[in-house]
């Protein structure tokens, strides 16, 4: 296992993610398809990691496991010292609510809520008062350049705008960890770059850790570290299997 090192090279930073012998496989008829095979890895707080790999290589599966919306077949996952795999379903949900932010390829905004309400949702779930959550949502919308669209419904926005709202929603409650699954996969190159810029800027402002799944090397370049998913293993771009 690699020793976690803070990216500025100073004293070791606290661990944000620890994967301990994590395995996951799916059954396809008679065949067992091993997606993750006893992987071990660690990410320190504030770091950014890109999961690079082709479709079906296990990037999304790993994100799902880290977020607790799926469970590994074996092994353990720790987030900021909390052993996620030891928690029951409800506790995992509440942990996710407080500490995680998601950005999806297909935005997944709630169509029945306005743009501002979508951003307020995680705040409200975390018990932030309405006035404060409203103020915060407007600040974030301002930060992603969409202050004028606060009362619009998502279907009125372009793809890039929707993804910027999704980023604002993911960071609204200042989560310790942001998981992004192909955040530019559904956008044109120029819009994708804009969205990545927004994401990077906001991560720096919030100091959150991020794990980003992508098949694009260009997108992966925004991360400090790059892991490749291949044949059930994680390989750091330096060439060492994790």
């Amino acid at each position: 296992m690699r020793v976690a090192v803070a990216h500025n090279g100073s004293a070791p930073a606290p661990s944000a993610i620890r994967l301990l012998n994590v395995s996951k496989s799916y059954r396809e008829g008679e065949r067992l398809h091993v997606v993750l095979d006893a992987i071990n890895a660690e990410v320190v707080a504030g770091d950014t990691v890109a999961l690079l790999g082709s479709s079906g290589s296990g990037k999304s599966t790993l994100l799902n496991l880290i977020s607790g919306i799926d469970q590994p077949d074996a092994g353990a996952i720790e987030l900021a010292g909390t052993r996620l795999t030891a928690l029951d379903e409800r506790a995992r949900t509440l942990y996710r609510r407080r500490n995680l932010g998601f950005v999806y390829q297909f935005f997944n905004l709630l169509p029945t809520l306005t743009v501002a309400e979508n951003i307020r949702l995680p705040l409200e779930l975390n018990g932030v008062a309405a006035v404060a959550s409203e103020r915060r949502s407007l600040e974030l919308l301002d930060a992603v350049g969409l202050a004028a669209r606060a009362t619009s419904f998502p279907e009125r926005l372009s793809g890039g705008e929707q993804q910027r709202v999704a980023i604002a929603r993911a960071l609204a409650h200042a989560p310790a960890l942001v998981l992004a699954d192909e955040p530019t996969g559904n956008l044109d190159e120029e819009t994708g770059e804009q969205v990545l810029g927004v994401l990077q800027k906001m991560l720096v402002e919030h100091g959150s850790t991020m794990v980003l799944a992508t098949h694009s090397r260009k997108v992966a370049a925004i991360a400090r570290r790059v892991w490749r998913t291949q044949n059930g293993h994680l390989i750091e771009e330096s060439g060492i299997s994790l």
Binding site: N64, S67, I69, D70, Q71, E89, R90, T93, L94, R96, R97, R98, L100, F102, Y104, N108, L110, P111, T112, L113, E117, R120, L121, P122, E124, L125, E155
Partner: protein, 840 residues
Amino acid sequence: MNLLAKTSLRYLPRHPWQLAVALLGIALGVAVIVAVDLANSSAQRAFLGAVDAVYGEASHQVVGGPAGIPESDYVRLRLDGGVRASAPVVEGFVSIGERAFNLLGVDPFAEAGFRTYQIGSGGQGRAWLDLVSRPGAFVLDERAAAALGLDVGDSTEVIVAGKKRPGFLAATLAAEGGRPGLSDVVISDISSAQEWLGWNGRLSRIDLRIEDDAGVARIAEGLPEGSQLLSAAGRSRQTLGMTRSFSTSLTAMSLLAVLVGVFLIYNSVSFTVIQRRPLLGVMRSLGVTRAEIAGLVLAEALVLGMVGVVAGLGLGYLLSRELLGLVTQSINDHYYYVGAASVQLAPWSVVKGIVAGVGASLLAAALPAWEATQAPPRQTLARASLEQRVSEKLGLIEICAIAAIAGGILALVVTDRSLVVGFAGMFLIVVGLALLVPGFVALLSRRLAGPIGRLAGLSTRMAIQGIGRSLSRTGVAVTALAVAVAATIGVDVMVGSFRGSVDAWLQRSLNADMYVAPPRLAGGRAEREIDPLLLRRIVALPEVDHVGYSRSVDVVTSEGVRRLLAVDMTDEYRANTRLTRGDAAAAWAGFDDGSAVLISEPLAFLHNLDAGDEILLPTARGVRGFRIAGVYEDFDTGSGTVMLNRDLYRQWWQDDSVTAIAVYLEDPAEAQAFEAAVDALSAGRQSLLVTSNRDILKMSLDIFDRTFTITNVLYLLTVAVAFVGMVGAFSALQMERIRELGTLRALGFTPWQVGGLVNVQTLGLGLLSGLAALPLGVVMAWILLHVINRRAFGWQIDMSVSPSALLGALALAVAAATLAGIYPSWRMARTAPASAMREE
């Protein structure tokens, strides 16, 4: 309002089809329950009011046989027995103008403490004096008097069993503040009532107020032979009990409509949940817990339920006003004259509606809510996983179906009397069969897709295959609609079979050429008799070949009212009376020699009596047991009929009167001449109804149809619910596919081709619903006929399934499906593929 709640609140108006179907399902279900309940309770209240008005505050009653009680018994009871709290009563039915009334002949001086009367303006002071001093004087409710155009002091004709008697309106009863139920009562002095009814020196009953058990025992011991002491409360209960089967069967019909409503609600709610699975998945990944998701779905159902209930209550009230007229008409036709009743808003009926509407909505939402929370969030995001889960669960669903059917059959087999268990069994079987429908849909679409595809091309194959591959949506919709269509088959076959059985029975029973009787209003009242002198003259008419005499009277037993039908059996009547139990030869021999009686099928079933048993009947010489020789086919609606030899009746009831005669003419072509001759003989003496067998058949079937009008109203409502539900559900299914259809347009499908695809699929869904409904409907009809009607009324009805009922149901399903495809096809034709693909 929190944001989670907002997501629901805004979701439903964006899907108006689902919202409309769900609300309609709830509103119509609640409306039917509330309407039937309000109509039943209002009619029963009117019925009880009418009974209470004539029973008053009596604690007990002394009653006699059909010939009543000698007046001397009352004198003996009051003077010798010292029972001061007693009041003599003569009861009957009269008509004034076109309106019927209950006649209450009383002794005004003995009435204090039994009944209170509030005399209206224009008769005070003199009213009671006129009542006792002027023959034919009577008192009437002031609204009834106004409706008849009578003022106090006016003379009029009072018609009793077809005979006109002079009457005089001595006073009117105040409409306001008076006792309810008196609006349909004519009150006269006892002597006038005796004169009108031809009951000189006789009483119908003696009302008593007895404070203690010892008094009851003492009075009972001292009663002369042929009289019995009954509790007034018990008699009210018995009287009310006569209509219980009728109201129960209406409740059953309303429950059927609710069952259909529940399926529609379930369909709508589960559809809205399934459709939002990806959204629910997003919420779960944002940290919304399972309990919060379940709460959200249930809260949504609660709101839907409440809105539906409000609409349903209003609709139910309006509907109840229409139904009440039908219910009171049926009570008048079959049981007792209650006049016109008005709908009274009973809080309990409203509570039932609320509980049913909200409860059904929550129940319908519970399963989808549970399902939505069980799948891991990762899976809720994937549609394919849902379809896979549904396919995997088919086996489990089928096991549940078989268990439900087995439970239902068991419930029906182990009990043979309980109506409640009968209902429970029926619902279990229906639900069980309904659960088999998704498997049937999957199987059929799998099997048919290939052959149809080869014949009609790839797009048709896609449409048929799509039905089975989207089982999460289509399965529930087809099941819900199959139940709705099945309910229409069930009711249609039930009413059709019943009408067929009654028709066949009447054709057999009505074997004489003509029937002569006083007007029917008085039912089993003793005063309904043909004037003896007139009778002799009619029988002697040259057109008459031979005659069958019958006497029909009601007797009061401790277990309820029994109709006695004393007949001089003609060969024709005997040949057409079908014995369902007992050895026919022995039964007829016992009947002829007067050693036994026959009882009607309902009486036998409802009171668990059979050939060889004994039945206790109050005779003029006290209560006596009569041996039952056999059970005969009958469709009476009261608590049962005892048929006996007229000699036996004369012997024990000392009554030689004749209620009706069945006339066999020398030449059936002389019917008109006979009718004219009877009219000439009876003119000025007694009004008699002379009817041909064909007319009676028609009148009886009219009454049947009137009784079933309410069933037909409920049936049409069920059809309407099914139809609208089907159109809504199928349209919603297609609207949900608009993105997929947009993709097909982008691939090069023309609007026509996409429209064709939509229509083939909705048509397929309609056909599958219709096909699945056929066996389900026939089973439902069988249970309604052989379990529900049998247990409620004791009727034995032969089931006949007319092809028109089945074809009608299929046509309903196909027509709804055709309509359902129109809007999505039109919408697709007008929407650019790019925007269709952007649809949520």
